[in-house]
């Protein structure tokens, strides 16, 4: 009986479902172990957006970070998708990460550049992770810092060049 339970425990620990495999494709989760991914999976909300649909507006209170599972999104100045485009992001990338750090308003508008599927992690859940799963939270924070550092470097380079 105990052996059977242990077997189930080990089997469960090692199993990686298709959703977990998809999650592994997201840069922010690249350093997270399978069982840790499972804990994060329970916190994510899956949303689907149609092409041109607004995901959030500039100046809106940010509460969540978005992970692109499928499709592309356009980051642009408020209401200017054509002439105010800032960046286009695709599967595996994330946006709205400042919402995890502070309560500041969204810095740009984000629209679906094509039909897309997104996973959403709320700041409350991230703060909960810091309290209950500090190991996962520190891994995510480190990846988040790396990603923001990379974006800062790109911005500086674009100004210098």
């Amino acid at each position: 009986m105990l052996l059977n339970l242990t077997g189930k425990f080990q089997a469960f620990k090692g199993t990686e479902t298709p959703q977990l495999t998809t999650m592994r494709g997201i840069t922010l989760f690249s350093q997270v172990a399978t069982n840790e991914l499972r804990a994060i999976k329970g916190l994510l909300h899956r949303r689907t957006y149609i092409k041109d649909e607004i995901i959030f507006d500039e100046g809106e209170k940010g509460q969540a970070i978005y992970f692109i599972i499928d499709g592309k999104v356009l980051i642009c100045k408020q209401g200017r998708p054509q002439d105010g485009a800032i960046a286009e992001l695709g599967a595996g990338q994330c946006f709205g990460e400042m919402a995890l750090i502070d309560n500041s308003p969204r810095m740009a508008q984000v629209r679906a550049a094509e039909d897309c599927t997104l996973d959403v992690l709320f700041r409350e859940d991230f703060l909960g992770l810091i309290e209950t799963h500090s190991r996962i939270a520190s891994k995510l924070s480190l990846e988040l810092a790396r990603m923001m550092g990379e974006r800062l470097r790109q911005t500086i380079n674009s100004y210098v060049l």
Partner: protein, 373 residues
């Protein structure tokens, strides 16, 4: 949530009206509401442990079953342990109860006599005889009229109380799914705002229920140590029962004090100084609860004005009695979040415009190949 997001006067009226209506409805299904609230408290208590078990590699289902099953087993074992003892000692306990009731009666008589001795205007009144007669009647008739009812009520409530671990199991197992399910029902435009408010509700409920448990534990420790230092027998049992009774606003602490006075007056007849010490201990605890423990532990999580809280207690009591006293604040907090959400969604023209725009996009997408004039 910022002050600018606090509900308007009209919304407040709707929130209070909805709370009253819910209290009235919940009173009809109290057998389900009480175990549900107990399950919520248990859920918030076990949730951190559940998360740790899931992280250690157990499946969410197994972890939820393990925790709620363990709680159910412990409750069952406790009942099985207590039941034969209760049956074996029932007659002794009944005699003891009558003895304590008589002791309490004597203590009240003593207090009235002391007051008549001090205040001239009380000397000629029949207050002592009336009180004595009423209390003696109550003490004599308690075992015949009330004890049976009390035991029957407890027995009738047991099955529904046992529902609590089962509800807890589903909350632990499907809590995150439930949140996702609610999220799925909300259109994209309102998703972030609605979910934020649901999280706010969750945080409020967690602070409230865990806060109540923590305050009860502190109260129990404070009373046990205090009563033990005063030399009152069964200090631990009295401390725990009084702390649990404290969950019933206003009436609960008085019931705890009455119980302790009955025991003290019976075991130390005539020792009025000790009785005053016991009353003082309960008085100090009340002050500490209201000004230190509750504000710091439960916090201002409810964001309710003290006057409104007090008024709602009266309204709750008028609608649903003691149950209303216990339920009114959690229900008000939940309805308040719901009211806030609806107000934000209904008054935010940008969100509504985004929702209409998204609906039009969907409509255009699904009718792209259709020639609809």
């Amino acid at each position: 949530m910022s002050d600018s997001d606090s509900p308007s006067a009209i919304t407040w009226c709707a929130i209070i009206a909805a709370t009253c209506l819910l209290l009235f409805l919940f009173q009809q299904i109290l057998w389900l509401v009480v175990p549900f609230l107990l399950a919520l408290a248990l859920y918030y208590l076990l949730a951190p442990l559940n998360k740790k078990l899931v992280l250690s590699g157990l499946s969410p289902d197994f972890s939820a079953a393990l925790l709620s099953g363990a709680f159910l087993l412990l409750s069952g074992a406790a009942l099985l342990f207590i039941y034969p003892i209760a049956i074996a000692h029932a007659s002794e306990w009944q005699i003891a109860l009558l003895r304590y009731l008589e002791g309490g009666t004597r203590a009240i008589e003593g207090m009235i006599a002391m007051m008549q001795d001090k205040f001239v205007f009380l000397r000629d009144s029949d207050i002592s005889n009336d009180a004595r007669q009423n209390l003696m009647n109550f003490a004599e008739q308690f075992s015949d009229k009330h004890l049976g009812k009390v035991i029957l009520t407890i027995a009738a409530w047991l099955p529904s109380i046992l529902l609590a671990p089962i509800i807890t199991y589903f909350l632990l197992k499907d809590g995150a799914q439930l949140r996702r399910f609610i999220g799925c029902t909300v259109p994209n435009a309102f998703f972030e705002k609605t979910l934020y408010l649901i999280y706010a509700l969750d945080r409020t409920a967690r602070l409230y229920f865990l806060g109540l448990i923590k305050v009860a534990a502190i109260d129990a420790a404070f009373l046990t140590i205090g009563l033990w230092l005063l030399g009152v027998p069964s200090a631990l049992i009295l401390g725990i029962i009084s702390a649990l009774l404290g969950w019933i606003p206003y009436i609960g602490p008085l019931m705890g004090l009455t119980l302790s006075i009955m025991v003290t007056a019976t075991d130390f007849p005539g020792d009025m100084v000790l009785l005053y010490w016991v009353m003082g201990l309960f008085g100090v605890l009340r002050i500490l609860d209201d000004f230190v423990f509750l504000p710091y532990i439960v916090g201002k999580s409810m964001h309710l004005h003290p006057l409104l809280t007090l008024l709602m207690f009266f309204v709750g009591e008028a609608i649903a009695g003691v149950a209303g006293l216990m339920l009114v604040i959690p229900i008000l907090a939940m309805v308040m979040v719901l009211g806030e959400t609806l107000e934000i969604i209904l008054l935010d023209t940008r969100l509504r415009a985004r929702h209409t725009y998204a609906r039009n996009l969907h409509k255009r997408a699904v009718t792209r190949d259709l020639n609809i004039s």
